[in-house]
Symmetry: C3
Subunit: 193 residues, 3 copies
């Protein structure tokens, strides 16, 4: 009787083991197909860009540094700013107030890359230095900035964000002519270490 119970228990064991073996090897030996259900970390942050226009040297956090032959580096170019490259060091805040205490800086560059409408391409990092977070999150991606929301890729991180990956949803929270804009970034990290 005891032996027979042992033999019966043996069957589901084998099935379970085979199942485990299957899903385990599928994640280790071939390309991975994973569907994360929810982020392992989320952050909502605002950053503020004040573009140098020849008059605001003291306050500016960004400057046009490159432009096509038909434009200059003080005024954003025609043709929807096509070809303008901007370097920036923008304060990051937890709310939409430029004057709130910054929790870090957004640093890097963006470039306008379409003649017909406003569209940008971004390469930058959040450099966070607050009681909550110390570390960097790096982003690249297309920013079709006339869309209400647009997603860019989180491609790496350091410190508290060591090796992270994910997606950030950007929203233009405010803009004032060609001098100031504020972006809200909903950062969703799906790989945390």
């Amino acid at each position: 009787m005891e032996g027979s119970r042992g033999r019966m228990a043996f069957i589901p064991h084998i099935l379970l083991l085979l199942f485990l073996l299957l899903i385990t090897t599928s994640t280790t030996t071939s390309s991975t197909l994973r569907r994360p259900l929810k982020p392992c970390k989320t952050l909502i942050l605002y950053f503020h860009d004040i573009i140098y226009n020849g008059l605001n040297a003291a306050n500016a956090t960004a400057a046009i540094v490159a432009s096509p032959a038909w434009a200059n580096r003080t005024i954003l170019a025609g043709q929807n700013h096509f070809g303008d490259v901007v370097v920036f060091d923008d304060p990051i805040t937890l709310d939409n107030n430029l004057h709130s205490p910054p929790v870090g800086r957004a640093q890097g560059m963006y470039l306008y890359d379409k003649k017909e409408i406003y569209t940008a391409w971004l390469g930058f990092s959040f450099v966070l230095n607050s009681t909550d977070y110390k570390g960097t999150i790096s982003f690249i991606g297309a920013d079709p900035l006339m869309n209400k929301t647009r997603d860019v890729s989180v491609v790496g991180g350091t410190g508290d964000f060591f090796m992270t990956r994910g997606v950030a949803t950007l929203m233009t929270d405010a803009f004032e002519g060609e001098v100031y804009f504020r972006l809200r970034a909903d950062v969703k990290l799906y790989e945390c270490y």
Copy 2:
């Protein structure tokens, strides 16, 4: 007899469990060593770059926006274009015909970075918007463009390409002087969600 069969079956169990434990913990608690056998998704796409040269403003999809001190932004620099930075918004097609219906745009920048031979460095995204695919794929990497094929990294994606990673093999499919070139990109994605 029954009991002895149970005991014999017990030994491979333990071995299997130990094996499973080993490979499972190795992927979760330490650095991962994975050898993908084949991509989870592949795409073959062409993109077309028409560089502004002072005469082709209507058709140009790209413009030199930065160059070293010895050069200007209308004609590609000497010394194998070293230091020229180009911003682009190129149509993407499914075949090698510039006039085929575009399935998206390749947007971003490249820069020439070697004095002795033509070599570029790329940072750009495919922004796909077709019945088949909606989303972005972002690339960075060195492009030794005199090589028949060269690989760049797929570092992230959004939409249909959420969180993707992989490698793209680039081939120069055509070039006409310093105005037009066409690249074929064999995109191989090894992480799909």
Copy 3:
């Protein structure tokens, strides 16, 4: 007796299986939380940047190609070089000697992005071509270069570094005015294929 031993062994089995099932499914169906203990590959490399200053055309490995309106492309800008974009093709060596045989080239760009102190943002690749390694490693990230050490992200790779990810710790190993600097990069890869 034999049967009773089988039944007793059965309990830890189930626990172990449940444990395995838990950790295995947690890595495949939801966002991943992984804590790598040690890199799967490490490299210590030096790269050497000689910035064009109008006099050193033959030796220069880098050139300012973009700058804000108040600066030019021969001399690094005031305000801690804010807005200067530099394209580079630097030799990589295994030790700190500029004249050691190079094992590859560091190619890409950096930009200075802060008015108050020296800070840079990097986008570049190591293109390695030696008996030990053939392939590329791509980096992006903030470089607060006045810090003794700072981490940037390894976001992709090709060849021997296919699909790799990790972190690189940069250290300024030497600098001579505004013409030469040497960085030591401790590259720690946590995803190897």
